[in-house]
Amino acid sequence: MRVRTNTAIGGVLMALVLGAAATAAFWTPFDPLRVNLRARLQPPSSLYWLGTDEFGRDVLSRVMAGAATSVVVALLTVTLAIGFGVMVGVVTGYLRGWTDRIIMAINDALLAFPGILLALAIMIVVGANKFGLVLALGLAYIPSVARVVRGTVLSIREKEYIEASRVIGNSELYSMLRHVLPNAVAPVAVLATSMFGWVLLAESALSFLGLGVPPPAPTWGNMLAASRPYMESAVWLGMAPGLCIALTLLGINLLGDSLRDRLDPRMAHG
């Protein structure tokens, strides 16, 4: 019962976000970058549903365009981190021995830093733009993915069907790719959903600390960061992106929960 209600809520929230992002690709009520100095800091009205910002740009349009940027950034980051993390995790879990020890030592060293600050430093190096952000956050998250994947790989390695594969005469590499990898997907999928949320949070935190996707291109994070001075005088500026982030995270977390429930072997056995 709970599972279904929550999945539904999560699904609706995510559908809204993706819908807004997709719509923004070809239509927004106003040009999200269009400066209109005669309509600055307008409260929500029938014309500007969510009001306007300090440059007179339509907040609704920016929230929609921001959804697109945020979703793209989050997806790319998750892809990058998961891709590399899975690679590192599988390779170390597969090779064991010294390669494993060395790579895991590096991995642990990276894990020892607070991710957001690592991302901040990387971002200064590679530049504050969408791809810099993706690279920075991706790199910052790879170690945790690698850890999770390696742990999963190590536990799957001990499963009897892996032994069965060896008995059949399959090479270790084949066993890894054919048996270990597909079975490691489930925890990674759950991790990916949480990470999607972390990226949204991290992006806004980085914007807040002064580096993120640079405006004027809107993201929820930089909109939220830019709204700070107007926190009291123009509440809607911060509310719109803040609520968007919170609701999207809520949606993705709920979906992640139901995904986890579905992938739980106990549930699968009935």
Binding site: L33, V35, G210, P215, Y230, S233
Partner: protein
């Protein structure tokens, strides 16, 4: 964990309890609480410093001369001075009865000792290079003729000697007591002659300055860093609050009395508050768009001019500074005594002409990368507006946001196409041009590389003759506008928000708050 849980509960309980027991302030003492956005670097004037440091130290120490409100130089510890030896010897007559914070009376010996300390390379005085080979002049001799007289001899005449001595970033070439340093020459704490003496400095938290009761004030009214200085509060506390929203909140909740260097976005909000008054003062800083004139695309002056012509600088200044600053296309700040009718002629928006120039230059939508940073909100906002206006013309500007240090690095290396930048205040007209001008081949950070103009600049530095300098500056302005090495947008404003009970505060051209003559009721 088992051990910790109960203690946590105690902590919370007590914390809740103390919500109702707010800290009690000492009643007798008057304290003025203000904000710094970052901690000061040291208390050693003009050495290990930044703007915040200068601002605090200016309350503690004084030099022979100081800038007045109109950026002219007036006497401070000197009673008067005379220039002789073809403009090479300056003889300062000192004021009598000036006391150091430790009670000692200032003499010519102290002045000589202080000047010599600044000129010692080991001190790492920021302005030492001004008196080196590439500077304005060398100092050949410093001597105390009698306890009230000090003579300084230069190797060549310069109009900039006194302004340099007065520069706040040079620590106003402060006269300090020799006990400010230890026997090993290591800095201890400033024993100066200022209206306040140093109180408690808690790193990262606050710096207190305490009224110096033995202060001997000048008689003429307060003017810039010169004139009368009377401490009307017992203590000024500079709280280190990096976050501007928190500072604003602090002011509104009454835990701060003054926020200087107020951000423009906070202005709107604070203006409407009954408990708050706003002080707006034109400032000397300079915000504008720099062009790299060696860039393959932007070396074409027609493109630069086209961009300049498509801007409505008045509107940019108005929006970005929310009506607190006027547009200015001149390299000279509006507050400068040399800012005249000529300087008001800058760029006038002319879209048709701009379009024509672009066609002539063969511009076909090539992207122009403009560096900006978010450390200075008004610079960033200007960049956004310039981009938006240029877009209307069909010029494709892409904003690249860097952090301030990276942008400075790119600035110093000249590695950019365009950048939105802000210069700090220069208190002399020659210096306003000097910061922009120079040969790019040897000094890549320079913006405007025009040998004829550079010669005019050199002449302006050599002479004291106001009319002659005005003529030089006027001509330089015309060429500056014609060459478009950068588009100056505005000079900005010094904004401060004060609670209504703060009396006597006034900003001035130089963006540093002064808390002498300020009282809290």
């Amino acid at each position: 964990m088992h051990a910790r849980r109960p203690s946590d509960l105690v902590v919370v309980g007590l914390a809740l309890a103390c919500l109702f027991v707010m800290p009690v302030r000492a009643a007798a003492e008057t304290v003025l609480r203000t904000r710094l956005n970052a901690d000061i670097r040291s208390t050693d004037p003009g050495t290990n410093r930044d703007a915040n440091t200068d601002g605090v130290v200016a309350h503690l120490v004084e030099g022979l001369v100081a800038f007045r409100e109109d950026t002219s130089v007036g006497p401070m510890l000197a009673e008067s001075w005379s220039v002789s030896n073809e403009g090479k010897t300056y003889t300062f007559r000192l004021r009598q009865g000036v006391k150091f914070h430790n009670g000692a009376t200032m003499t010519a010996e102290d002045v000589v000792w202080s000047l010599k300390r600044w000129l010692d390379p080991a001190t790492q005085w920021r302005c030492l290079s001004e008196f080196g080979p590439s500077g304005i002049a060398r100092i050949e001799k410093i001597e105390a003729a009698d306890p009230q007289t000090v003579a300084v001899t230069l190797d060549q005449p310069t109009a900039l000697f006194l302004p340099t001595l007065a520069r706040p970033d040079c620590g106003q070439t402060a006269v300090i007591h020799r006990d400010s340093v230890g026997p090993d020459g290591k800095w201890i704490a400033p024993i100066g002659t200022g209206p306040f003496k140093l109180g408690e400095w808690k790193r990262g938290q606050h710096i207190d300055v305490i009224r110096f009761d033995g202060y001997a004030s000048r008689s003429e009214p307060r003017s810039g860093y010169a004139g009368a200085k009377t401490a009307e509060v017992d203590r000024v506390r500079f709280n280190v609050i990096p976050d501007s929203s928190a500072a604003k909140a602090g002011l509104l909740s009454g835990s701060l009395d003054v926020i200087s260097a107020l951000g423009v976005p906070d202005l709107d909000d604070l203006k409407s508050r009954p408990e708050v008054q706003i002080s707006v003062t034109p400032a000397l800083g300079l915000t504008g768009i720099l062009f790299q004139t060696r860039d393959p695309l932007l070396k074409d002056v027609r493109i630069r001019r086209a961009i300049a012509l498509c801007l409505d600088t008045a509107e940019i200044a108005d929006v970005v500074m929310q009506g607190t600053a006027r547009a200015n296309n001149s390299a000279l700040p509006i507050g400068s005594p040399f800012y005249g009718e000529v300087q008001t002629h800058g760029y006038t928006q002319n879209i048709a002409e701009a379009k024509k120039l672009l066609v002539e230059a063969g511009y076909r939508g090539q992207p122009i990368k403009m560096i900006a940073n978010k450390r200075y909100g008004f610079v960033f906002d200007s960049a956004v507006l310039v981009q938006a206006m240029a877009q209307g013309l069909g010029v494709n500007i892409e904003i690249e946001v860097l952090d301030w240090a990276t942008q400075l690095d790119r600035y110093n290396r000249g590695d950019y196409q365009a950048m939105a930048f802000v210069y700090s205040a220069r208190l002399d007209a020659s210096l306003s041009f000097e910061m922009l001008m120079g040969p790019k081949a040897t000094q890549p950070r320079k913006i405007w590389d025009n040998p004829e103009a550079q010669e005019m600049l050199r002449q302006s530095m050599m002479t004291d003759d106001t009319a002659k300098r005005q003529a030089l500056f006027d001509e330089m302005h015309r060429r500056f506008i014609k060459d478009v090495p950068m588009i100056v947008l505005f000079n900005g404003a010094e904004l401060a928000a004060l609670r209504k009970n703060v009396k006597g505060y006034a900003g001035w051209l130089y963006p540093q708050p002064r808390f002498w003559g300020v009282s809290v009721q």
